[in-house]
């Protein structure tokens, strides 16, 4: 099986430790993933901000870069959702039937990290050790677009030493929403305040999620409040060992 990592633009730029963690987890499970360096971005931000035309060349690039792989692993529910639920439609709107077929093909082989581990590799215990109290925030796109269900939690529950605390109102959006965080900053901040309050109520020292973008927002709020609560992508927790 030829596996590729689509690391996502945000992780590449701002959270490289998440990409490194994915590589570590996969290698521990005997999977050698390729990282085609021609990859850049899925184009979701352009689409969701109202510029689908700018995303079409990015879709074209994405399907070309990832054409030869059996599985494409993405450490982001949101970017995996963009590939699976936006790319083919963008190609169709651009009137490009060939690109549409290619996009559907790549989409069918694209997996969010927890889906890849649980469904493709059939693993829920990745051999991790993480002796901390952790609460998990299920990100909206992983939950309601990809429908990953409890896969991330199954992976976390199998981590040795972890103390998982249930997050109150966990399925409520954290308020990030891409450019929403800036365009509607006040509402975004109000949602964030409720999310950080919920995180603090768990007594966890770490808030985990499957999206670096939401974590940038939640972590930024926790940092501003001086809570000392840290954020971790689930890949980072799954990568840590004794």
């Amino acid at each position: 099986m030829r596996v590729a990592l689509f690391v996502t633009c945000l992780v590449d730029a701002w959270a490289p430790q998440v990409g490194r963690a994915v590589i570590q987890v996969l290698e521990r499970l005997g999977v050698t993933a390729a990282v085609p360096l021609e990859q850049t971005c899925c184009g979701q931000m352009h689409v969701n901000t109202g510029y689908p035309g700018l995303a079409v060349p990015l879709v074209r690039r994405h399907v070309r870069v990832f054409a030869g792989y059996d599985a494409i692993v993405v450490p982001s529910g949101s970017c995996a959702a963009a590939v699976r639920h936006q790319h083919a439609g963008l190609a169709a709107s651009a009137g490009d039937a060939v690109l549409r077929r290619q996009a559907e093909d790549v989409a069918s082989r694209t997996y969010e990290l927890s889906e890849f581990l649980v469904d493709v590799l059939g693993v829920s215990d990745v051999g991790a050790y993480f002796p901390h109290r952790v609460t998990y925030h299920p990100t909206c796109h992983s939950l309601r677009v990809l429908r990953v269900g409890d896969r991330p939690l199954r992976l976390l529950r199998a981590v040795e030493g972890i103390d998982l605390a249930e997050l109150p109102d966990s399925t409520q959006c954290c308020g990030f929403g891409g450019t929403f965080a800036v365009k509607n900053a006040a509402v975004s901040a109000a949602m964030l305040a409720d999310k950080t309050a919920a995180v603090r109520a768990t007594g966890a020292g770490i808030c985990a999620a499957a999206d670096a973008s939401c974590l940038l927002h939640i972590g930024g709020g926790l940092s501003r409040l001086g809570t000392g609560v840290q954020t971790r992508h689930i890949a980072e927790i799954l990568a840590s060992t004794r």
Binding site: V7, C9, V11, D12, A13, W14, A15, P16, Q17, V18, G19, R20, I23, V35, L37, T40, C41, G43, H46, V47, N48, T49, G50, Y51, P52, L54, A55, P57, L58, C140, H141, L143, R144, V145, T171, Q172, C173, G175, G177, G178, F180, A181, V182, K183, N184, A185, A186, V187, S188, A189, M191, L192, A193, L216, H217, G219, G220, G221, S223, R224
Partner: protein
């Protein structure tokens, strides 16, 4: 209907435009702590009850699919069904009027009421008449309108605007309601308490007199069955039924998308609607009537007001499936915090964010499609499976295209987006851009985090820190590994 129909279709007017863009209106609403408490409490309660009521049905997803399919079939042949409805209503003694927009509908209704000589009408709770601003139009003609739905009455007596489709006074708690009654109801007992039963009794006494004296009633409609010309109103209090049956003249204002082909379709919607809206298994008062009954003079006003224009957009038209249950409002994390007034339209929340800009044209409501995090909670609960998040994204592109069409130079945002896309179209440019990000480390050198950024990113740092950029991008790490 073809796309060309959209170009000449009338645009929606009436209560569909706020005077403040959503972000500013929302920010103002957020400062009202009482409003936020009232809203969060009410929406959380309804939301939980709805989830329970829906979970009782094994075939909920099939019902949803059926509801969506029936509505789509209607929309695909709307012209045929509307003509059939007109024919049936007319054959049974009713009179059908066609209104291109709110102004025309208001003229028609005002004229009909004036012809009866009545100085006051009683009203069944109706979104369509709120949309067109009928009460104000009647007032301008010297005709009083009395809202008889309890919550609408509270809103009306409070000189206020509805903030929710189904529970228009959701932003009020019972103490506020008692104060409104004491202030505005001349016949209220000065010792009135804020006990819900006492408040309901005060409203009942106040309204009973109105029902018995009114000569004209105005209603909306939840559905209109084309095969027989039957109108359907679904309500919880029975006040609607009083209006529908007592006055000698009944005028119904109905959006053209409310038509369904046949009675058997009601089986689907009378399950979907009550469970989604009030979390009830069966709706308490379902009134149906066909034409002029027992000498009651019946008029049906069919309202376009931007619906044909909405129908013309294949990626937006399914917003017309909406049956006004408001389940999407109750689960929306944005609505839950801002309430309905911030949307500036009688249709707030997620459905309002997709419906309102289509009724008015996106140029008049450019901020509404952006009033969402695209979290998807609305789509999950929608009983007619309107993919609101995808539609919001589509409407955002229409807003951006509309803005670009009116100017020579691109907006700063458009230029930034184009620049970013250009960078992302090349491995070399992207790699260098990530190395440039590293320069940002100078900003966070003191505490390993960035606490202030210049505009427009100051909107981010107003409530959030930014971690210091990493020393090395992922790709540089990978290349040297």
């Amino acid at each position: 209907m073809t796309g060309a129909a959209g170009a000449n279709a009338p645009r929606g007017v009436g209560h569909l435009r706020g005077d403040t863009p959503f972000p500013a209106a929302a920010e103002r609403a957020l400062t009202d702590a009482q409003l936020r408490r009232n809203l969060l409490r009410a929406t959380s309660t309804i939301q939980a009850k709805r989830a329970q009521a829906v979970a009782e049905l094994d075939d909920w997803q099939q019902l949803r699919a059926a509801g969506a399919a029936i509505k789509d079939a209607v929309l695909a042949h709307l012209d045929d069904y509307l003509l059939q409805l007109e024919e049936q209503v007319t054959a049974r003694g009713g009179t059908v009027h066609w209104a291109r927009d709110a102004n025309e509908a208001n003229r028609i209704v005002t004229g009909l009421v004036a012809a009866t000589g009545a100085a006051e009408v009683v009203k069944v709770k109706s979104m369509a008449t709120q949309e067109i601003g009928l009460n104000e139009a009647l007032a301008a003609a010297g005709i009083g309108a009395v809202e008889t739905d309890l919550a609408e009455l509270i809103v009306q007596l409070g000189h206020d605007w509805p903030s929710h489709i189904l529970v228009p006074a959701i932003h009020r708690n019972r103490t506020e309601i008692r104060d409104i009654f004491l202030r505005e109801m001349p016949d209220a007992d000065p010792a009135l308490t804020d006990d819900p039963a006492a408040l309901a009794e005060a409203a009942r006494r106040h309204l009973r007199r109105k029902f018995l004296t009114a000569r004209v009633a105005v209603s909306g409609a939840n559905f209109a069955v084309a095969e027989t010309g039957t109108l359907v109103v679904v309500e919880s209090e029975g006040n609607g039924r009083m209006c529908l049956t007592l006055p000698p003249t009944l005028i119904t204002v109905m959006g053209i998308e409310k038509v369904v082909p046949a009675w058997r379709d009601m089986e689907v919607f009378l399950q979907l609607l009550p469970r989604s809206s009030t979390a009830e298994r069966m709706n308490p008062y379902t009134s149906t009537w066909t034409g002029s009954v027992e000498g009651q003079d019946f008029h049906l006003v069919l309202l376009d007001n931007g619906r044909t224009a909405t129908l013309a957009d294949p990626a937006g038209r399914s917003a017309l499936r909406c049956i006004r249950c408001s389940a999407c409002l109750n689960v929306c994390p944005v609505y839950q915090r801002t309430g309905g007034h911030a949307y500036g339209s009688v249709y707030p929340g997620p459905i309002g964010a997709v419906l309102t800009p289509q009724l008015t044209g996106v140029a008049d409501n450019p901020t509404l499609p952006f009033a969402s995090t695209l979290c998807g909670a609305c789509y999950d609960v929608c009983p007619v499976a309107i993919d609101i998040p995808s539609m919001l994204v589509h409407l955002r592109s229409r807003v951006i295209a509309d803005k670009a069409a009116g100017r020579r130079a691109p907006t700063a945002e458009a230029a930034a987006m184009a620049g970013l896309a250009w960078t992302m179209r090349s491995r070399r440019r992207w790699t260098w851009a990530l190395r440039a990000v590293r320069l940002g480390r100078v900003l966070g050198w003191r505490q390993d985090r960035i606490t202030r950024l210049p505009a427009p990113m100051s909107a981010w740092t107003a409530s959030r820190d930014v971690p210091r950029p990493p020393r090395q991008s992922f790709r540089d790490w990978w290349a040297r590994r």
